[in-house]
Symmetry: C2
Subunit: 226 residues, 2 copies
């Protein structure tokens, strides 16, 4: 669009030529053709990062699940509705990427069995057996020459502590912590950037401004370490 063009012109090209892979949105793990387990991610934070990275000159590949907002203008977009399809899409796209930002709320578990037909409600109770899904971010981080990996941790309690643990467990250089309940679906967000240098809480702002600040911080880290 014209507006996007003007905004891109006005934005310093701090990520010029950088190849960035971003995941966004929620996955849904189907129980049958109609029902599934999902989460309430709107995709706004991931889409804001993808739009802003593009404005800042990056070549963005966006792998996205269920979202409630329209797709931002990026160079490459791949739809991946389930955890398994998102894993495959990321692994297919990850070669030659310099940065990987995993924002998507990927289901941790999926049903052991998916019914090919709608499950009939005959029983008063029902038990669903779930199996653990692969951890996309941890697997990307353990590749031989991994991109610079940035995770997102949406927590409901002990936000900074859990996010810090997650950063170490996944062996990634940077994680963005936020408070799940206030952030999900909202246009505004408060986040804390956690890396080797400690943690930096950004002032509350809308998600596109948060994206700008995260990517500016990230570009500084990459230029320092290069």
């Amino acid at each position: 669009t014209l507006l996007e063009g003007v905004l891109a012109c006005l934005t310093p090209k701090l990520l010029a030529g950088r190849k960035i892979l971003i995941t966004a949105g929620a996955t849904i793990e189907m129980l049958d053709p109609i029902r599934g387990i999902t989460n309430q991610s709107s995709g706004k934070m991931g889409f804001s990062l993808a739009a802003m990275a593009t404005r800042m000159g990056a070549e963005v590949t966006l792998v996205y699940g269920q979202t409630t907002t329209s797709l931002p203008p990026v160079q490459h977009a791949v739809h991946a509705p389930s955890a398994e399809s998102m894993y495959l899409a990321v692994m297919q796209q990850v070669a030659h990427q310099e940065i990987f930002i995993a924002v998507a709320a990927v289901a941790d578990y999926s049903p052991k069995q998916t019914s090919s037909q709608k499950i009939k409600k005959s029983e008063p109770t029902l038990t669903i057996e779930l199996k653990r899904n692969r951890d996309i971010l941890a697997e990307v981080a353990s590749l031989p020459n991994p991109p610079y990996c940035v995770g997102f941790a949406a927590e409901t309690e002990q936000v900074i502590a859990y996010a810090s643990q997650k950063r170490i467990a996944k062996n990634i250089p940077m994680i963005i912590a936020n408070h799940a309940v206030s952030a999900i679906g909202n246009d505004e967000n408060t986040v804390t950037i956690i890396d080797d240098s400690g943690h930096t809480t950004l002032p509350q702002s809308n998600k596109i401004e948060i994206a700008h600040q995260i990517l500016t911080y990230l570009s500084q880290q990459l230029n320092t370490s290069a």
Copy 2:
């Protein structure tokens, strides 16, 4: 909007003064503050019925869950995200309604327990215990002076047979059958109206036109029986 005003002017007032309660969208049954079991209803069919009934002169009360489209212009709208909240909202609104059209894809089961904090992924497998939810449509139909009840049956196989069974089981005069996989999320739909007189398959069309045909058929039934 102006367009809606013009469309309303051009639409015959076949439902003038009728009070109609419509449910639309999907419910989500939370496992924890972030994750839940839902289904892929977009809310388009229910919203189309609500918009068209309003244009046709009805006083519409819309009880809606998760949707991917914007709320149509109706006189009363109540948000009800879960099966339980939708049950309560419908029971609160149902008095004095002449017609009840249950389009929402209400979850048949919900978790026995909802965690107040995000569940941590520590285990390789997980078992979720579900309990059967109340059947909103069947309960409305069994009220002492029920409104004229219309159900929707989204099926993946034996569509007409399952929908006919559902009409009898719920003791409702009319059910609209559709093929779930092709209908969900699409703007177009093919439906079959099933009532005491047999079944009538409408030509494939967009959901607003389908809504118009269903409501025209319904108004004829009500005028005949009155």
